[in-house]
């Protein structure tokens, strides 16, 4: 078991800075998801932790130990590849035994360890099956088992579910999370799928363009995004952001959204923080938290998506487009006008100039 500490880590490929700077502490036994769109530097970060790539600058510590110059075979990391990279010319047993065999473990010792891992992963009946004819969930277990047999302190998983069809992904997510509870290793999980990150991770590190945007528990990132990128990226659909100007009214501080009118007053603590800054703001609220109201933002319905359990209503267009998610079909149709209001407590304010969240209090 081991904590991971990334200090001022950077990586450039020629002129291209894949990772601009990264400071991250991953606790011992933690399940950390690196989440971001493709090209955000998450895989590069993971490859550097595994030792497949050398950092351009900065340090990687496992516990207290600096990993600079430690070759990838000696870092004690288990790595699960995107397509699992199972040795297809071997049997399941040979796959599991590969690590100990390469390190010259005794035959009896190998058999014992393979037996134990196979038992834990329910692979025992499949041990003599050839690995090129296995279903994907078994491949995943073999990939994990093959690493787990080395008892690595750290498990790295590189988008292991991206080749799995959507229906099966939920099953695999559950299985993976249970496995992590069993092994209790530090896990770093790279993904571009927020659903995977939200459901499995203890904490999520959201990345974009080689920069770490925010680290926090799934609910923290969802409820209190640190900036506009995280606000838009997390959630499906992402947070609504409307540009406006803070204005005083007799009911308290409101945001003047121009043609959309003024918002309900902001909560006191948030209001005082907003008063302290200058310039335009972005008025943010989650589509799921929108409610139909008597007073609020009056907007035309431009599109309605009904996806069974939920209905997504698109309101307005262009700069002032807003999405609202309702649990039931609220009976709105295109052309109608809806009056919506986010509850005051769920409103988040961002500085329009810097994109950073304005923290209450």
């Amino acid at each position: 078991m081991s904590a991971i500490h990334l200090k001022n880590l950077t990586k450039s490929f020629g002129d291209f800075a894949a990772l601009k700077t990264m400071d991250l502490e991953i606790a011992d036994g933690e399940f950390m998801a690196l989440l971001g769109p493709s090209g955000c530097g998450k895989s590069t970060t993971m490859n550097m932790i595994a030792g497949m790539e050398e950092p351009t600058s900065g340090r990687i510590l496992f516990g207290e130990r600096d990993m600079a110059g430690v070759p990838m075979g000696r870092r004690g990391v288990g790595f699960v590849f995107q397509n699992y990279a199972i040795f297809t010319h071997m049997s399941v047993r040979q796959n599991l035994a590969y690590g100990p065999r390469m390190r010259g473990a005794a035959k009896a010792e190998i058999d014992r360890r393979v037996g134990a891992v196979a038992e834990m992963l329910q692979l025992s009946p499949l041990l003599d099956r050839k690995a090129d004819r296995l279903s994907v969930n078994i491949l995943q277990r073999v990939a994990i088992g093959r690493s787990a047999i080395m008892e690595p302190a750290i498990f790295l998983l590189d988008e292991p579910l991206s080749n799995v069809d959507a229906a099966f992904r939920a099953v695999m997510r559950t299985e993976l999370k249970q496995l992590q509870r069993q092994f209790r290793q530090t896990m770093v999980y790279v993904t571009h799928d927020q659903l995977e990150a939200m459901t499995m991770a203890d904490r999520i590190a959201v990345m974009d363009h080689g920069v770490l945007q925010q680290v926090g528990t799934p609910l923290e990132v969802y409820n209190n995004p640190a900036n506009v990128f995280v606000a838009r990226f997390i959630g499906a659909p992402g947070m609504n952001l409307l540009k406006g100007r803070p204005a005083e009214s007799d009911r308290g501080l409101v945001v003047d959204l121009g043609p959309l009118g003024v918002t309900p007053p902001l909560p006191d603590e948030l209001a005082s923080a907003v008063r302290a800054m200058r310039g335009d703001v972005l008025y943010g609220f989650r589509p799921e938290q929108v409610a139909l109201a008597e007073r609020g933002l009056s907007m035309p319905v431009s599109f309605v998506e009904r996806i069974g359990a939920r209905t997504i209503v698109h309101l307005g267009d262009g700069e002032s487009a807003v999405k609202a998610v309702f649990e039931n079909d609220v009976g709105l149709s295109v052309g109608q006008t809806a009056v919506v209001a986010p509850p005051a407590s769920s409103v988040r304010i961002f500085d329009a100039a810097t994109g950073l969240a304005v923290k209450a209090g």
């Binding site: 297809t88 010319h89 690590g99 390469m102 080395m150």
Partner: protein, 307 residues
């Protein structure tokens, strides 16, 4: 075959139609493979020769009750030619394989000037074997470039009679073969090598395998089929080694470089006893068929069970 429970009639009719449609092709195949084989078999039990004055179809008049085969068993020149062929093969094919594999591993990674070297490397394969033979004939003359280069290295005149020394002539012939056919081996093995999945190599590294272990546990097993194909092609081709060799030495000095093909050629063109030639050729066909069948069996096996 569209409806379930239909009478077997449509299937039979389909098979009949299929037979009729493929009949011309089958006749062609029969004509180019089975006919010559049967003709060879027929002639091989006679004393027939093109000078015998009867057509080959009347060769039964010269039936010699398997004398060709009993002669063959006692023909020391045949057996030593066979032995020589085996020696050439056992030196050339492994040398070509190892050189080809080493080159393939070199070319699997990038290096400066790779494309240029790649083209140069493939050139020997494209040289007409007869031309290659004449080229090496000149290179190995006692006043030729090979001796000249050796002389510069040792700093004294070198006059090795490459092609008139029994042992050296065989070595010279093998060098020519290796020069010409290593590129083919290289090409086939490179195709196999780039097909080894990179992520599996990385996975092996992460599991602690060193370069040699990766080679023996991942690369070689993955390349097994292609290695068998490459070796089978070269074994069969090398067994028939002729044009380069014949131009360089003509099988000489004496019979020092007389391989089985050269022997057959001489018996065919000089002794003109074609019944005997047919018997020799058939014996060789059987040997090569055994190699081919073995290779195919190994290939099928390699695809079936884990290593």
């Amino acid at each position: 075959m569209s409806t379930a429970g239909a009478t077997p009639a449509p299937r039979d009719e389909g098979a009949k139609l299929g037979f009729r449609l493929t009949l011309p092709a089958q006749i062609l195949v029969l004509f180019i493979s089975a006919f010559p084989l049967l003709m060879q078999l027929y002639i091989s039990v006679t004393d027939w020769s093109p000078l015998s004055g009867v057509g080959w179809w009347n060769a039964w008049e010269m039936w010699n009750s398997f004398a060709n085969y009993t002669d063959l068993a006692a023909d020391t020149r045949f057996w030593s030619a066979l032995q020589r062929t085996a020696i050439v093969m056992l030196v050339c094919v492994p040398a070509e394989f190892l050189l080809g594999l080493a080159l393939a591993m070199l070319f699997a990674d990038d290096f400066l000037g790779k494309r240029v070297f790649y083209s140069i490397l493939l050139m020997p394969m494209m040289v007409v074997p007869a031309v290659a033979g004449y080229m090496f004939f000149m290179l190995f003359q006692s006043g030729g470039p090979v001796n000249d280069i050796l002389a510069r290295i040792v700093g004294a005149p070198v006059t090795i009679a490459w092609l008139s020394d029994p042992t050296l002539a065989l070595i010279a012939v093998m060098i020519a073969d290796i020069w010409q056919w290593t590129p083919l081996m290289f090409l086939i093995l490179l195709a196999g090598l780039v097909g080894v999945p990179e992520d599996q190599m990385k996975a092996a590294t992460l599991l602690g395998a060193n370069a040699w272990q990766r080679f023996t546990t991942i690369v070689l097993p993955k390349m097994k089929t292609i290695i068998i194909i490459a070796l089978a092609i070269r074994v069969i081709e090398n067994f028939k080694i002729f044009d380069t060799l014949y131009i360089m030495t003509g099988g000489g000095p004496g019979v020092a470089t007389e391989t089985i093909s050269v022997y057959i050629y001489k018996v065919t063109t000089q002794d003109l006893i074609w019944g005997y030639v047919a018997a020799i050729a058939l014996a060789i066909l059987i040997v090569l068929s055994i190699v081919a069948v073995y290779a195919m069996k190994r290939m099928a096996k390699a695809r079936e069970v884990p290593a």
